[in-house]
């Protein structure tokens, strides 16, 4: 029995906006980072699903997903580095402390 494509899309969409929601509401930067991962992966799922269901003759979507995952990893590493640096200075990772510059 075949799972309809729409189901995947719903999941991915939910994932994406869950990510958005998380990103906007979490106080902790690491949590925000995780939300970002959710969003990126939601997009990846879309690619895979479209490739699998609509355009099975080529693997463009799959490859794209692979690269996207790689980039996501790099981005996470960088984000962690910066967060650590921040932690060194202010001893916590609360995002609301990043408001020295405003207006």
């Amino acid at each position: 029995m075949e799972i309809p494509m729409i189901a995947y899309l719903v999941v991915s969409t939910i994932m994406f906006f869950a990510g958005v929601y998380g990103f906007i509401t979490r106080k902790n930067m690491l949590a925000m980072l995780i939300s970002l991962e959710l969003m990126l992966n939601a997009a990846d799922i879309n690619f895979v699903v479209f490739n699998r269901y609509l355009y099975p003759e080529a693997f463009e979507g799959f490859f794209f997903t692979l690269f996207a995952i790689g980039i996501a990893a790099a981005e996470t590493a960088l984000a962690i580095a910066i967060i650590i640096n921040i932690f060194r200075h202010i001893r916590n990772v609360e995002v609301r402390n990043l408001d020295k510059m405003k207006y």
Partner: protein, 635 residues
């Protein structure tokens, strides 16, 4: 007669020379130079007059109108262009003679009168400027040239009235004179615009060749109930009324007496103030085409004459008295023009009369002013109360002054009698009403002139203890004597032979009925003056108390100046200028500033958008993206 251009050029050069190099010359040199210059001008003017009037008359028995020179100065359209030139016809030649004569007298007189004054050279420069502009005015070949010199005489009169520029009174008087006349000139200008637009020319001869052209061109066109032609001519007359100090534009003339007395004699008695009369005379045929305007002129003149005469009766400053008498006399000329209802020789008698009176009046009024100058020179005051019994001290002045008074009062055989008689005749021919009116005014004239005469030369003997008055130097009384002689003989000039409404020779004959009445009235006036002022007494005071209201009103010139003050300051300054200035600063400019303020305010208001929190940024980000998506889908 191309050489007539010298009449204009010489004074001009004299002005430029004295104006630019004057301060380098000594007083005497400057004065002599100016006088010599004007003497030459006068001689040339006389030559022109002689040659002109000895010319054979042409077929219609008229002196040809000559245009020795006429250069295009500025071209507006193919029809309209301002020319500068010289137009010689009977009245302009007559004016040349008058102006040069009086001006020369004044030049000579001033050598003595202005001696030692600061800015003597400047004074002579201005005199030359005035002579130049006045001469240019009378020989104008077209109405725009006339307007140009019209403005120039206005300015030179401004400069001369304000000659004592450290005296606030003089400054404000000069300002007043200029602005009032300027206001009148506005009418003149608009009149010219209308006239020239419809007739497509400025040129006098073209205009005269077909006087009714304006009426025909504007046939049927009306503006606010009056025909456009009437408007044009009336507006032009407004210019003339301003210069000739007709009621209600007369207010500048009495104040103009702040200027040096010779200047008053030249500008504000003999020459400039008659420019208005000259203007009307110059355009007389066109005025005949619009009788309603002539009616207007008559009324204005008559009212002015009466008004000025009444006021003159109670003034105590001798120059003011003379000023008002001038206004009144010019009004006589205006009336004379007004009552001449068409250009045929007999009906147009008033034209000749007014020109004649202009001529004689110029002489004796100049004489009066110069005499007054001598007196002021001697007494160092303008007030009657400071004077009296001066005949002992200054006999020459006394005699000449008396002659002038008799002339202006209209006692034969002095010149004034003849010219005034012609005017009265003309008035009677128009209607008995005007005749009676003017005769009455003539009587008043006699009265106030002799009041003046007695108060100065008889009355009581005030104590001149600090210094005794003495006869003026020769440079000052020679002109008096000369003018007195002219006044005596001028009446016998066959004036009508030279000047008449349509140029044909007109033989003056006295209308004895009119003459006798006028003489009697004049004598009555003199008698009354003698009764009241011959020797010190309380009758004048008693009389003044009797008619207190009238007296005070007349003394304050019926509050005309106050009225003007009120209009200009309270209405124009307070109610128009200031609000506009305020509006400009606070509304127009305020709007511009407000734009800036609002921008700043907005930029302050929205600064919170930049809250500094990543999550807010991202919130805006995603919302923006979604909003765009949604909107894009909607459209």
């Amino acid at each position: 007669m191309e050489y007539s251009v010298i009449i204009l050029l010489l004074p001009l050069c004299m002005f430029l020379f004295l104006g630019l190099a004057g301060h380098k010359l000594s007083e005497r040199v400057a004065g002599i130079l100016g006088t010599i210059g004007l003497t030459v001008t006068t001689v040339v003017a006389y030559m022109v007059a002689f040659n002109y009037f000895t010319m054979p008359r042409n077929a219609e028995g008229v002196f040809d109108t000559l245009q020795p020179i006429n250069l295009e100065w500025l071209r507006f359209t193919e029809h309209l262009h301002i020319d500068l030139g010289i137009l010689l016809d009977p009245i302009s030649v007559m004016m040349l003679v008058v102006i040069t004569t009086v001006s020369l007298m004044v030049h000579i007189y001033s050598l003595g009168y202005m001696h030692g004054e600061k800015g003597f050279q400047r004074y002579y420069a201005f005199l030359s400027l005035f002579s130049f502009s006045m001469l240019g005015l009378v020989v104008a070949t077209n109405i725009f040239q006339m307007y140009i010199f019209w403005e120039l005489v206005g300015v030179s009169s401004y400069l001369l009235i304000g000659f004592y520029y450290t005296k606030p009174a003089a400054v404000s008087a000069s300002k007043k004179a200029f602005i009032v006349t300027r206001f009148a000139d506005l009418g003149f200008l608009i009149g010219i615009l209308i006239l020239s637009f419809f007739t497509e020319t400025f040129d006098f001869q073209t205009l005269m060749s077909n006087p009714s052209s304006l009426v025909t061109e504007t046939a049927g066109m009306t503006f606010m109930g009056c025909s456009v032609a009437a408007w044009a001519m009336a507006l032009i007359f407004m210019g003339g009324a301003g210069k000739s100090a007709m009621f209600p534009l007369h207010i500048w003339l009495p104040d103009a007496m702040e200027g040096p007395t010779p200047v008053s004699a030249l500008i504000h008695a003999a020459t400039m103030v008659v420019a208005g009369v000259y203007l009307v005379a110059r355009l007389f045929p066109m005025y005949c085409a619009v009788p309603e305007v002539l009616e207007l002129i008559t009324w204005v003149g008559a009212i002015t004459a009466l008004y000025a005469a009444v006021v003159a009766c109670v003034q105590t400053d001798i120059k003011r008295v003379l000023a008002f008498s001038t206004i009144s006399q010019i009004a006589f000329m205006m009336v004379a023009l007004g009552v001449a209802f068409n250009t045929d020789l007999h009906a147009g008698l008033g034209y000749m009369a007014s020109m004649f009176h202009l001529f004689t009046h110029a002489m004796f009024k100049a004489l009066l002013f110069l005499g007054a100058g001598c007196i002021i020179h001697a007494v160092h005051s303008n007030e009657m109360s400071e004077m009296g019994n001066l005949r002992k001290y200054m006999p020459v002045t006394h005699i000449t002054f008396l002659i002038a008074c008799l002339a202006i009062a209209g006692i034969p055989p002095f010149s004034g009698f003849f010219s005034k008689d012609e005017i009265l005749t003309a008035a009677f021919e128009k209607s008995a009403f005007w005749g009676v009116w003017m005769t009455a005014v003539a009587g008043l004239t006699a009265f106030y002139m002799f009041r003046l005469y007695y108060r100065i030369f008889w009355w009581s003997k005030p104590s001149y203890e600090h210094h005794t008055p003495h006869e003026a130097p020769m440079s000052m009384y020679l002109p008096l004597v000369f003018l007195a002689l002219v006044t005596c003989v001028a009446g016998f000039i066959p004036f009508g032979e030279f000047v008449s409404v349509n140029g044909e020779a007109y033989h003056i004959h006295l209308d004895w009925s009119v003459a006798t009445t006028s003489i009697i009235v004049a004598l009555l006036g003199i008698a009354l003056a003698t009764w009241m002022y011959f020797s010190e007494n309380t009758r004048p005071k008693a009389l003044a108390d009797k008619f207190r209201a009238l007296h005070t009103a007349a003394y304050h010139r019926f509050y005309m100046d106050e009225l003007y003050m009120w209009v200009t300051h309270k209405i124009i300054f307070q109610r128009i200028c200031r609000p506009i200035a305020w509006f400009d600063r606070h509304v127009v400019d305020g709007t511009m500033n407000m734009l800036a303020t609002v921008t700043n305010g907005v930029s302050y208001g929205i600064r919170k958008l930049q809250s500094g929190y990543i999550q807010w940024y991202v919130w805006v980000f995603i919302m923006g993206a979604l909003l765009i998506a949604v909107l894009a889908m909607c459209f």
